[in-house]
């Protein structure tokens, strides 16, 4: 059989891979994408999207419980865990089909199978025992990552879960221990708490959501505790004893060792790149701590082989992967305006209740970097729209460089902040200063008005509180 030959072959069809494929094709490159499972990767099938569907169910349920507050009556409020999961799966399937369409529309060849590198300019794809070699002038590795597991606490899918199991529970657990308080951990804690589970979160560091600004962590802890979630910071799970239908966790805390017995445990202690069985080492590609090493253009040590997304390391975010996918494709095509990724322009979002979102430097990081900062805070208690929504917990914090007026970072917690953060992302990308942000007109009444107030507050002139 004649060998197929492409300008670019992309391995993995998550939000990094499929976006790279579309962009490469737009740039006139003959493109193929290899996927061993479903198009869309983790993000779409087992990550971002299905969890958002689950959290939407939780949100609606919480609102129903608060119906009276809004002058409504609802009786016999209940839920069907199976149907909640079903809806989430349907949402994921719909989007996976959408990617199929996108590939077709952009004339990207989709190759079903497991790929590995097979020498310079060659990819070998295996499917049902048959292998095929494909010629590739350039290769983009986008194989993503999987949950990191702690020794002796590996997930079994029954009592100990990773995010994947937590997304498709057979029944709602009555009690739950979440190890790790990053975005994934807090979203599941929030979800299961909404449906009445007794949730405990253990974080090894001294605050939850440790990558966020300290004030945000503090406010989040307060809000989660108010919702009845137990939080142990500076705690380490040392052992999990599995019972018949429960698990006893031995948690070392500042005060001593605590034993916590729960129905289920979710392990959310980070992720590790899918670097295995790809033939990376033979091509001289360097791997460190489970991630592929690349230069600022996402190129590996092997010329013409690029790697993007979770595979190359933090921040482990779909939109960062997509951005790198575009970057790698444009680099291959020799596009003029391609710029390396600046992580201080990558927003991060946590879709728990309350939501958390941020971009750029935290106040502490900005000071560490030597900036003299001006900080603004605008609490949602003073925002008309938030009061009307009945969601007044939280605030918007902005961090400016006093000297130049550069918006160094923005940090938000509260209603819909994951949708709001984009305003500051654009501001950072365009390098606006406080003057432009102050001069911009924000619509009333919106939550976004408080983005304006926060900027005004940083320079001592808030107008509405």
């Amino acid at each position: 059989m004649a060998e197929q030959s492409f300008d670019v072959v992309i391995i993995g069809s998550g939000p990094g891979g499929y976006i790279a494929a579309v962009r490469a094709s737009q740039l006139g490159l003959k493109t193929a994408i290899v996927e061993r499972d479903k198009l869309g990767g983790i993000c779409l099938n087992w990550g971002c999207i299905p969890t958002k569907a689950l959290l939407r169910s939780a949100e609606v349920y919480m609102l129903m419980e608060k119906a009276e507050e809004f002058g409504l009556s609802a009786e016999k409020i209940g839920f069907d865990g199976k149907k909640i999961v079903e809806r989430s799966r349907k949402v994921a399937d719909k989007l996976s089909n959408g990617i199929q369409f996108l590939m077709k529309k952009n004339k990207v060849s989709v190759i079903d199978g497991t790929a590995k590198l097979a020498g310079k300019g060659l990819v070998e794809v295996e499917k049902d025992g048959k292998t095929e070699k494909i010629k590739a002038k350039n290769i983009i590795l986008a194989t993503g990552a999987r949950a990191r597991e702690l020794k002796g606490m590996e997930a079994d899918g029954e009592l100990i879960w990773t995010y994947k199991h937590a997304m498709t529970p057979k029944e709602m657990p009555k009690s739950l221990l979440v190890i790790g308080s990053g975005a994934i951990g807090m979203e599941f804690a929030s979800f299961y708490r909404s449906f009445g589970a007794d949730v405990t979160v253990v974080e090894v560091l001294d605050r939850i959501l440790p990558v966020e600004d300290e004030e945000i962590s503090k406010q989040a802890e307060r809000a989660f505790k108010k919702r009845g979630i137990k939080i142990i910071t500076g705690g380490q799970v040392q052992k999990l004893d599995k019972g018949k239908n429960n698990v006893t966790a031995h948690v070392k805390t500042k005060k001593g060792t605590e034993e916590i017995t729960v129905d289920r445990v979710i392990s959310a202690v980070g992720i590790t790149g899918n670097v295995e069985n790809l033939g990376l080492e033979d091509m001289g590609i360097k791997i460190e701590k489970g991630h592929v090493m690349v230069d600022k253009w996402c190129e590996t040590a092997a010329q013409g082989i690029y790697a993007i997304g979770d595979l190359v390391g933090a921040p482990w975010l779909a939109h960062k992967a997509s951005h790198e996918g575009v970057l790698a494709a444009e680099r291959i095509a020799g596009v003029k305006d391609a710029h390396p990724l600046d992580v201080t322009k990558v927003p991060g979002c946590t879709y728990s209740h309350p939501q958390v979102a941020s971009v750029g430097l935290t106040e502490a990081k900005a000071k560490e970097a030597g900036y003299k900062v001006k900080v603004g805070r605008a609490p949602f208690q003073a925002n008309g729209k938030a009061i009307a929504l009945g969601e007044t917990d939280g605030f918007i914090k902005t961090v400016f460089d006093e000297k130049t007026g550069e918006l160094l970072g923005a940090h938000m917690i509260g209603p819909e902040v994951t949708e709001l953060i984009q305003g500051y992302v654009v501001a950072r990308q365009l390098e606006t200063t406080e003057a432009d942000l102050m001069a911009a007109i924000f619509p009333h009444p919106t939550l976004s008005e408080h983005m304006h107030e926060s900027v005004l507050d940083a320079f001592g002139r808030p107008l509405n509180f």
Binding site: G28, G334, K336, D337, T404, G405, E431, T433
Partner: protein, 434 residues
């Protein structure tokens, strides 16, 4: 709605280009991927493909027009079902300054150009163009981010003196931070003037010569090399290498080489230079004003003569590549250079270059350094010469190499050490295996 087609940017440094040729005419149907025009930049000629489907409604720039700014609308496509009347109320963004024609006439045609097509209604009043804030000496608006403007003010930097690295040449924070405080706009923007101080036309009678306009590549060569000789304190080191052993090894390897691989002497020299750069890494550097950029990889440029000029494609990480790989890559780069099909990243940067005129029988010569590099090696022909070995007079194949060095980066002894290492690899090619 008609679809405007704009002048594409084909390289990171491209600001304008010459519309060399239209491949379509008004009324032609085009689809995505169809070639519609050829654009000539300073380094390459590239084809412009249609992105959308439609019928060519109007070509707004004549063939041969020079200096068409990036993003200027060059043509308008009509969508399905539209005819030329759709252009009546369509203003294809008349914002760019009018281009100069290649035929040497001055830019009086500016008005004529804008008024030309009768289908195009008197667009918008021209006043709109001039309203923007900070200006270049020629009154053009400068695009800069608010943050860049503020830092520039603080550091007393004239934005007109900078070129932006942001989208469409927008000046961003990074550009201003990298500029030296107090930078002022040069009287004539864009480095040394190209025109010689004496106008040669004064010395010759009309009709005794043909005046040929220079293309972009010729102009770039003139500008860059004038700049190099004016700014870089050049000095030269010469060494003779005996290459009989190298020729023997080359013959042996070529006899056993896989099909399609035929090593040239130059392939050996590229590898020798790369290894010498690794051995004497101080040579592999770029002068950056108040610092030196010490390059981590041995990226070796090879001067390739092409029609109308020359270009120096780069063999990246040549020290990590074997002779066969270098040979294949060099051939591919040279071939594409001749077709002017190189990507910008394939010829920009690099730490060192080799220029070989041996095939023309040149015994020795000196080359001009190609900034941001700090050295270039001029290689002469290999020829049998009478040399003294011990006390005997014997025949040996000798090749003279002259290295031009940037004295700001490379001192004499350092340059000499590099050449010593280079000569070692060339005369004992087996050591290149180590």
């Amino acid at each position: 709605m008609p679809i405007p087609v704009t002048m594409p940017a084909l390289s990171p440094t491209m600001e304008e280009g010459t519309l060399a040729k239209w491949s379509v005419k008004e009324g032609d149907k085009v689809g995505p991927g169809d070639v519609i025009a050829e654009i000539e930049t300073d380094k390459a000629t590239m084809e412009v493909e249609a992105v959308d489907e439609g019928t060519v409604g109007q070509l707004l720039v004549d063939e041969g027009t020079e200096g068409v700014p990036v993003n200027k609308v060059i043509a308008v496509l009509l969508e399905e079902g539209e005819d030329k009347s759709a252009l009546d109320n369509f203003d294809p963004e008349a914002a760019s300054p009018a281009p100069k024609k290649a035929d040497g006439k001055k830019s009086e045609q500016k008005e004529e150009k804008e008024a030309k097509p009768e289908e195009k209604p008197a667009a918008k009043p021209a006043a709109k163009k001039e309203e923007a804030a900070p200006g270049k000496p020629d009154g053009k608006r400068i695009f800069a981010s608010p943050l860049a403007k503020r830092i520039a003010e603080d550091k007393s930097i004239d934005l007109a003196a900078l070129s932006g690295s942001g989208p469409r040449g927008r000046i961003v924070k990074k550009d201003v931070e990298e500029a030296k405080p107090g930078t002022k706009a040069a009287a004539s923007a864009g480095g040394p003037s190209l025109a010689p101080s004496l106008d040669p036309r004064a010395f010759f009678e009309d009709g005794t010569y043909d005046e040929v306009p220079m293309d972009k590549m010729r102009k770039t060569i003139a500008k860059r090399l004038t700049q190099s000789k004016q700014e870089i304190p050049h000095y030269y080191l010469t060494v003779d290498c005996e290459i009989d052993e190298l020729l023997r090894v080359r013959k042996e390897l070529n006899e056993r080489a896989p099909e399609g691989v035929k090593l040239s002497v130059n392939d050996f020299l590229i590898r020798a230079a790369a290894l010498a750069l690794k051995k004497v890494p101080e040579v592999n550097a770029s002068f950056a004003g108040d610092s030196l950029l010490m390059h981590k990889h041995a990226n070796v440029g090879i001067a390739v003569a092409i029609e109308g000029g020359l270009i120096t494609p780069i063999i990246g990480k040549a020290d990590e590549k074997g002779l066969a790989a270098i040979s294949t890559e060099a051939k591919d780069l040279a071939a594409r250079a001749r077709e002017r099909k190189l990507k910008p990243q394939e010829y920009e940067g690099g730490g060192f270059s080799i220029s070989n005129l041996g095939m023309y029988g040149i015994k020795n010569f000196t080359a001009v350094i190609n900034p941001p590099q700090s050295a270039i090696l001029a290689v002469g022909a290999g020829e049998k010469r009478a040399v003294v070995k011990g006390d005997e007079l014997v025949a040996a194949t000798m090749m003279t190499c002259t290295m031009s060095c940037d004295h700001r980066v490379i001192d004499g002894a350092l340059g000499a050490r590099f050449l010593e290492a280079f000569k070692g690899f060339v005369e004992f090619p087996a050591t290149m295996l180590m």
